[in-house]
Amino acid sequence: MTITPVNLSSSVADDEPPVSLWRDAWHRLVRNKLAVAGLAVVVLLAFVAVFGPWLTPYDFLTQDLNARNQAPSLAHLFGTDDLGRDVFSRVVYGTRTAFVVAIVVTTIAVAIGVTLGAMAGFFGGLFDRTVMWFTDMTMSVPNLLLVVVINASLKTPITAWMEARYQATLNPFYRETIWVDFLLVFGSMALISWPPYARLVRAQVLSIRGRPYVTAARALGLTNRLILMRYIVPNAIGPLIVSVSAGLGTAMVLESAFSFLGVGVNPPTPSWGNMISDGLRVWQHYPHLLAAPAAVLGLATVAFSFLGDGLNDALNPRGSK
């Protein structure tokens, strides 16, 4: 019995190396100038966030009352604020705050969203309906309201508990109010950020679950775990990457917005948001106090949005024109 081999003349050329979809997407991404610019800025900001303390000439808390409200100069690139603190150092530290918040919040939100969404999509039934009901409920509450309520109701008891611990142990850690801020910001932002991930992943899983290759895997007798890990998750992850990139940007904006409104990271810990808030009060006299953090925030937002668009075009080439 001979089986006629396929005549390959007009399909894959022998000289071309195999290209996985991931590599294909990467090629598409690096051809997109805006996306590359966005990626470069994001990498730069991430670098600043990690190595910030070693890059700045001053400590962000050091006050120099002789050099208050100075305009930008060589000594102080972005000038100084009303307490004589170096604005450049504070912006750099603010980058750190923004990245820490964005990464922690997005990680928590993605972990919750992906787990719930994937399970809801894969198992369906009552579990699915419960999760989706819960998701819709969470999404229907206005973000800001939720955060304000959480802050108002939890801040006092937590602060009181920390103070009590301090009295009992005299451990200075419990005097650091920054942890309370972070805890509340992480918690409340994660709470409002996971539902879109859950919805996205559920929709992905639902559509992938019915594809012939998944049915073929079931017909081969593969286990549910193997099917989820090798067939469903890798195919659901593209849109998730796009959404995470956009989500990181959104989280930074949210953190700034909350800090601006006084329900996020509070002074003296620098955040772009509370710096903008401070700068806004005196912007007519000292515009640099507003301009520096606002410009960096704007830059970060634009960078993440370009990167997100680029990833979307690269990972879902047919979805875009």
Partner: protein, 330 residues
């Protein structure tokens, strides 16, 4: 055909409960497969034909226990496999395989061809990791693809090549039985013939049994030993290839055969066509009695009330029609 069948399908039923209305407030039942009986013999090609939505794929899926049967039995190696849970089903999975229609979604786009074909071999421990590359290239050779394709990804292949990979994946666990669900329908005419030949070659080489689901009657006539005609969830007629194509008994089979165009202008000029009026009724509310009565040119009062019995009129020729019972058809 006196031999014991490889697979025995007895009173197989599959209903889907769907939600209708804007808020899914109304439940309704889709009678996708209703009381279907047939045997599949080792080494044969049994085809299922019928219009879209008549339940061919659902029969294939429930038969493989990929969808839970509502009731009925599928006996394979003495076991009613549709009653088994996934774990107890696993040993049988290896022997019962499926190939799908759409070459573009049949392969996991994130896996190389080598991984696609190798996975079932490793999972069912049919070879060691060291033997794997050799096994994979032999399988690819079996379906007419060069071994170097193992490094390729599905999106780098043409539709026909992907369909070959899907066949290689099904062959990988050395099955006895393969459901081909419209496996050639999405392919170009010139490539279809390649895949049909391949399926025939493999059947001869490995003694495979096929359940061949298709709507192209010319192809079905070419490759089948026996053919079953489905209408709205029920089998209307089941017979050998010769019986069915030269002496169709059921009015629906007759209409179906007469609707198939032949690639011959002279013949087409003189041919008398019997064109059915109307559409297939909705499987949500199939007609009572004989489900074909709304379109049947010879429907009688009895047809509207009584479900015709599924019986063997001549050895190997099954049909469900009152007119045939009374000798008024044909």
């Amino acid at each position: 055909m006196a031999a014991e069948p490889l697979i025995k399908v007895e009173n197989l039923v599959k209903h889907f409960v769907v939600r209708l209305g804007a808020f899914g407030e109304r439940g309704a039942t889709v009678y996708a497969v209703d009381d279907v009986n047939f045997d599949i013999f080792a080494g044969e090609t049994l085809s299922l034909v019928g219009e879209s939505g008549c339940g061919k794929s659902t029969t294939g899926f429930t038969l493989l226990n990929l969808q839970k049967a509502t009731s009925g039995k599928v006996i394979f190696q003495g076991e009613n496999i549709v009653s088994l849970d996934e774990k107890r089903m696993r040993p049988y999975r290896r022997e019962l395989q499926i190939v799908f229609q759409d070459p573009y979604s049949t392969l996991n786009p994130r896996m190389t061809i080598g991984e696609v074909v190798g996975e079932p071999i490793l999972f069912h421990k049919l070879a060691t990791k060291a033997e794997l590359p050799e096994r994979v290239s032999r399988l690819l050779g079996d379906v007419g693809l060069p071994a170097r394709f193992a490094q390729r990804y599905p999106h780098e292949l043409s539709g026909g090549q992907r369909q070959r990979v899907a066949i290689a994946r099904a062959l990988a666990c050395q099955p006895k039985f393969i459901v081909c669900d419209e496996a050639i329908s999405a392919l170009d005419v010139s490539v279809q013939a390649q895949i049909i030949n391949l399926l025939l070659d493999l059947q001869e080489k490995y003694g495979l049994t096929y359940l061949f689901i298709a709507h192209d009657l010319a192809v079905v006539r070419h490759i089948s030993d026996r053919v079953g005609v489905m209408y709205l969830g029920r089998l209307a007629e089941l017979a050998t290839r010769e019986q069915l194509f030269s002496n169709p008994l059921h009015p629906y089979t007759k209409a179906l055969l007469s609707a198939v165009p032949e690639a011959d202008p002279e013949l087409e000029k003189t041919r008398q066509r019997q064109i059915l009026v109307g559409d297939v009724p909705s499987p949500l509310s199939p007609p009572a009695g004989c489900r074909f009565h709304t379109r049947c040119p010879i429907a009688m009062d009895k047809c509207r009330a009584v479900v015709p019995e599924w019986r063997e009129v001549v050895t190997g020729h099954h049909v469900a029609c009152h007119a045939v019972d009374m000798g008024t058809a044909g």
